[in-house]
Symmetry: C2
């Protein structure tokens, strides 16, 4: 039998999942706590027991996304290293932007941050740090040009990704996102001195398929 604290955690998760759908669809201003209570099947009292205000729900949705894979870059059973890990991480985040409503909600809330009057987790920095670590691995493996500044290159990989997802979102509603991400990686990894990038990207795709 589930204990009290387990049931409480499960209810909180159900509220966050319903909130993600509501925020992704209607944005922060348009989202209603009543709708979240109804969709999650909990009732308004229970929502207010877990979260004092709409802004707290928004912050919790963002935090839950920043805390987990694919940002954590765990690809199934065999975590990859260096450049393969970077490719996996970028593809994973791209796929999540398209397919994971909680990620879409977080991206929209981060974009609307100036409407939300509490401090939110800072975007970008966590992913930049993670990719910088993978670039150090790639340097140890001899996969990139010697002497690269990992933190700076990681910054530009994340910025390029963000730009591509934003333009793809506005121009095609993310229909061409995965294709644009492959084009972006072909260019960015070439700059890093990775050899035979096109084949490497293709090999990775065949492995995943």
């Amino acid at each position: 039998m589930a204990g009290q604290s387990e049931r409480t955690a499960e209810t909180r998760e159900r509220i966050l999942s319903a909130a993600a759908v509501e925020f992704a669809e209607h944005g922060y201003a348009g989202a209603s706590i009543s709708a979240i209570a109804e969709t999650s099947g909990t009732g308004k009292g229970l929502v207010q027991y877990h979260f004092r205000a709409k802004s707290d729900i928004a912050a919790a949705v963002i935090r839950s996304v920043f805390a987990v894979a694919p940002f954590a870059n765990v690809l199934g059973e065999t975590p990859s290293r260096g450049i393969d890990a970077i490719i996996g991480s970028i593809r994973g985040v791209g796929g999540a932007f398209r397919n994971d409503v909680r990620v879409r909600a977080a991206v929209r809330l981060v974009r609307e941050y100036d409407q939300i009057n509490i401090p939110l987790p800072m975007p970008y920095v966590g992913w930049i740090a993670r990719i910088a670590g993978m670039l150090n691995e790639a340097a140890d493996l001899g996969e990139v040009s010697p002497g690269l500044d990992s933190a700076r290159e990681a910054y530009h990989l994340v910025a390029n990704f963000y730009g591509v997802q934003e333009v793809s979102s506005r121009l095609t509603n993310r229909d061409d996102l995965m294709e644009r991400i492959e084009e972006m990686m072909l260019r960015s990894l070439t700059v890093l001195g990775v050899s035979d990038v096109a084949n490497r990207l293709r090999a990775g795709l065949n492995q995943e398929a």
Copy 2:
């Protein structure tokens, strides 16, 4: 003496300038027509004579930015060509993001588009088309690798710029924007096969200084 239609155009411009300050500072939802009327020194009646609703003012601010330099890439007296024109265009837009309140207003309004219930001009496409034209020039001048797809490369230049300005905006309030843009161009122009990019970027800066 200024004629009636000249005075009318001048009033409209004054309203748009006041609106830009208001939108850049408070966003779409927070901007008030009373404040715009007061700052522009026109009065609410005259604002409403020119614009039916706040959404019409927002659309006019965005259109006025999309219509003019630096997006039009006129650099003083001597318009440059090919790669130099691209470098000038990207630096010009970067500088405008930092220094031109009307551009900052347009960028914020474009980001808040889903709160504005009328069709707005589509961002990115005009600049992508312009840069694609400059890339064709660069190909004719032999400045880039042969056989590049200009439209696709222009898409990625604009997407990279947008990503860099967004991350710079969130992490440093655009303090490091110009530096990040130079880093971005060093990487992007290298991918295009432009030779001796670092010196080329330096030479351009000395010329402007």
